[in-house]
Symmetry: C2
Subunit: 147 residues, 2 copies
């Protein structure tokens, strides 16, 4: 599995940073994981950088681009795992900043995924996504992973 996370903004909070690095480390036992941080700006400027990264990441047309959006599709953890295991190709996740994603980014994405109907901070969304990717790998590999 080859996973890229395109995220607007940095994780500044030390506790979140520690936890995201912990999950990233666990994921890297089983998958390639790259995180690209896009500098905070207006959604259009951010959007251009995101779509340009997506174009490069999907140059061979083999990547699945999934943007996080509250109004997107809701998955259970096992449905999310099923989807990730079905996508043997590259997966690019996009996490917007405080002002959301531009229309261009939403159009570039193959899928809009909602972690929840609730609004989370950008840092929490990154943490949750990593935890769900790690959980998905554990489900795919049939490993025990405590709630």
């Amino acid at each position: 599995m080859d996973i890229t996370i395109l995220a607007v903004g940095k994780i500044k909070d030390r506790s979140y940073l520690q936890k995201t690095e912990e999950y990233a480390g666990r994921i890297r036992h089983d998958a390639r994981l790259e995180t690209v941080e896009i500098r905070d700006a207006d959604p259009e400027t951010e959007g251009e950088k995101i779509t340009s990264h997506c174009r490069r990441g999907n140059a061979r047309g083999n990547a699945r681009i999934i943007a996080l959006d509250e109004r997107g599709k809701l998955f259970s953890s096992s449905e999310f795992a099923q989807q990730l295991s079905a996508d043997s190709r590259r997966v690019i996740f996009i996490i917007g900043g405080p002002f959301g994603l531009s229309e261009e980014v939403k159009k570039t994405a193959h899928e809009l995924l909602a972690l929840s109907r609730m609004t989370f901070t950008h840092e929490m969304a990154r943490l949750l996504l990593l935890e769900q990717i790690y959980r998905a790998i554990s489900i795919i590999k049939g490993r025990k992973y405590h709630k």
Copy 2:
């Protein structure tokens, strides 16, 4: 607002502990907040303790009991805020342990709330709930609170 969180198990991870305490501190500027930790056991033993706490907390029949459950109702953050502000009485949230909530607890609750369709760790669920309560208070008070 008078909020009680009945949670099975302790938060052991230092990063999660730090963040939950941070949000709890922020919530306490505007609301009474108490957290009661129930010792990990089987769902039935945990359930008896939870329902006994609920009975005491709702002795005057003025508390709203909300249990967190993946199969519960999904709210947006503003719907959640609306509900919290409508419940001027006491609110008791219940967060189960790794083995979930007993049927007795689900029956005791007035409502089952889903933070997401995804499964989170117990510690993450506690952090998310606190963040959403803090966000709800910010929405009710009309304060700016960054995503």
